[in-house]
Symmetry: C2
Subunit: 456 residues, 2 copies
């Protein structure tokens, strides 16, 4: 089968890229309301792709937010069903001036596809559409396939839970297949077996009712930016532990046995530091870099703004300051509980002279996927065939909140066959996806179907 796949890829690769580029050109930024129309464009594009690739039917299904593209091919209702999950929405693109080529004008340079969504998740999702096309065209599909491609992953999938509940029959399946994560390296394939949860907040600090002259008032009126800085500073202590009361109560402590096992994964701290140009990796005292993102929660300011931020000097004592603050959570922390702890704590530490508001922007639960399930084993074998080595089960620091919801609502586990690399700069300027990884994904995925079909 491997040879057939490679022949198919070889004779269709330019068309595959053309089709992907068409999708990458649509600026489907879910966080920005001005892109509402683009979300529909991306849906129609994917619907056509699914039909052209061999789906029996495909449709654009409305939600209260951005729509979902659903497609299916049922070869035999008595056979198992794989559902592919992906998302066609992308992250915002600011700061625009750091992009070497425009984010929505994809191009190939240095063996990589450059553009917003090249990896996350248009590029990775599209590998599944093309792997599916190969299986259909070559009559090799061993089971039923469904596609559920959503448009709100980057804003926390606020409507997909409800969508799943309303379409339980339609979405019935035996396993969910997702490519929306990274592997350790091109020479170190890995399957993500853990994800962190997320609690994402926006906070607002108000001082005086208008911007004041910092000379006339400075020293006598609490400055909301200074106060916000003090509040943020107090959220972590000198050991880089989060100070919110109760924050660690539910954290699953990983045994030293397990930690030893995890430490076997290849990780080069010097390369890690060099790649992002930092002199020191900084995190919670007592844990390694891999552990800090894999099994420990974190707190980051994702954005901050207030006062005068233009060219030159303006002597203003601002009326307001804002920050976006998010926490990554580990099993068994519950996102909603953390939301509440954060809001209560943050409002309680408001210094005199300012008013503080905190509200949740989005969130979701963490996830752990066992390595002894049939689908995991099928995926592992597929990687072994195409990479020549067994993939490493890996706990990622990222979050795909919907994955734990799938388990809760649909009762189905997900297999996270991510083909991305850390250097793909997802969520950053100059997002990219190596051609090697794109085609390696299309090569590996059909083998998953083969082994999964054989064993189930």
């Amino acid at each position: 089968m491997k040879e057939k796949i490679n022949d198919y890829i070889e004779s269709n690769k330019d068309r595959f890229l053309d089709e992907l580029f068409g999708l990458l050109r649509i600026p489907s930024i879910s966080a920005r309301s001005e892109h509402k129309e683009d979300m529909y464009k991306a849906c129609e594009y994917l619907k056509k792709s699914l039909l052209d690739s061999g789906a029996d039917n495909a449709e654009v299904m409305k939600t209260e937010g951005h729509p979902v593209v659903y497609g299916e091919k049922i070869i035999d209702p008595s056979k198992p069903t794989v559902m592919v999950y992906g998302h066609y929405d992308v992250q915002p693109v600011e700061p625009l001036d750091l992009w070497k080529s425009p984010p929505f004008e994809p191009e190939i340079r240095d063996g990589k596809i450059w553009g917003r969504g090249a990896d996350d998740d248009k590029g990775q999702m599209f590998m599944h559409v093309k792997a599916f096309e190969f299986l259909v065209k070559e009559n090799l599909l061993p089971c039923n396939v469904k596609f559920m491609l959503e448009g709100e992953e980057e804003i926390g999938s606020p409507n997909l839970g409800k969508f799943c509940k309303n379409n339980l029959d339609k979405l019935k399946c035996d396993v969910i297949l997702v490519s929306d994560t990274s592997m350790i390296g091109q020479d170190a394939p890995s399957i993500t077996t853990g994800l962190r949860g997320l609690s994402y907040m926006e906070v607002e600090v108000t001082g005086p009712n208008r911007d004041l002259h910092s000379g006339l008032y400075g020293g006598a009126v609490a400055n909301p930016v200074n106060m916000l800085a003090k509040m943020i500073a107090s959220l972590t202590d000198e050991n880089n532990r989060i100070t919110i009361p109760g924050f660690y109560d539910d954290v699953m402590e990983v045994s030293s046995e397990e930690r030893k096992e995890m430490a076997k994964a290849p990780f080069d701290l010097e390369r890690y530091k060099n790649e992002i140009d930092i002199e020191e990796a900084v995190g919670e005292e007592g844990f390694t870099t891999m552990e800090r993102t894999g099994i420990r929660p974190s707190l980051d300011v994702n954005g901050i703004w207030g006062g005068y931020t233009g060219e030159g000097a303006k002597t203003v004592l601002p009326s307001k300051a804002y920050a976006k603050i998010s926490m990554r959570l580990v099993p068994h922390q519950k996102s909603e509980k953390i939301d509440e702890l954060f809001i209560k704590h943050f409002e309680s530490i408001a210094p005199p002279g300012v008013r503080v508001k905190a509200r949740k922007l989005h969130g979701g639960e963490g996830y752990v996927s066992p390595t002894d399930q049939t689908a995991y084993k099928a995926a592992s074998k597929a990687y072994e065939d195409t990479f020549g080595k067994k993939p490493i089960p890996f706990r990622s620091g990222g979050s795909i909140p919907i994955i734990s919801l799938f388990e809760e609502i649909l009762g189905v586990k997900s297999i996270l066959m991510g083909f991305g690399l850390d250097s793909d700069a997802i969520h950053s300027p100059n997002e990219n996806y190596p051609l090697w990884n794109f085609f390696k994904g299309i090569e590996t995925i059909p083998l998953f179907y083969k082994y999964y079909g054989e064993s189930s």
Copy 2:
């Protein structure tokens, strides 16, 4: 003379406002390079105003930055000379959406002139031009008058010192008259006898070399926004004292005698808090609100930015964070020394994992003007005539860095006859200037000339 002035104002008030509005319509924002042409427009406008008002000659004089408008009327070289200083440049206008009417389309509502520069300093400066017109037209000028109107006050007058040095003869005078400050209230006239100095910095904190995914890296990489918050938080202690080593070394401690004297100035803390809608006035332990802005230094973040600040949620661990941080200084703190102390300290407290840069944006020295000089007494009498009560000598928290430079370079004291009010919202959206104050200024200024001419 008072009657004559009031008659003159009465018969010319509409024209005075028309002429001022023409100046207010020019968006002469000195901090923004795109307004370079507008600076010249404002100059030409003022040059014509001075000539129309009776100046013997007027010219636009180049500097390395924005030009200076100079004008003069020499009635008798043996008589004393008053030099009026003012500035035609204005502060930036963001946030634009908070303005009730566009900043550069001045209008009158509720007895006030609304627009950027209505008070600071176009409105106040223009009172002098019209008071001068009255004195010339009515043949009442008792001394020589010079005007020096600059275009870089809001960015720290970087070129005016050099301009003064290069034009020592031309600028020879006996006293400098400035209206660029506030008085305590319409019923509490005051003359500013002290100003704070300024040291204005921009800082940059760099973490990783690109924005990272906060899930994949969060917890293992120092976040520049969190680190900047910690650094800013550490700049002041729990008593709201500034922690920069050596910062208070040169602060002139004011005797308890003097503090008692100052405390006699009318000040209503409840009204102060209500007007800017704060529950508590917060500042250095052990000092009153008036003292905190009058005789004590302060530190304020004027602006902060970093990461994602748009709509919705973006899970980014930013590469960079920035802040504009300024300190108000009191006699005898030296701006340059404080610049150095700040930069050295701020760079020294950089936490592990980030790089920190600090640079000076602008600055200047504080100023104290004695109340026993001839010109102060003349100003005091003028206020007494028009307000019916003696003005209070008052130390303002603001800075006009050039005032101390005038003393250093030209060897001349300045009299700060400010007619603004704290509610004029200078540097803020909805800057305004009550018509009452505008005309009261035009009424009071000629009386200064009268008394000054009589006594010198």
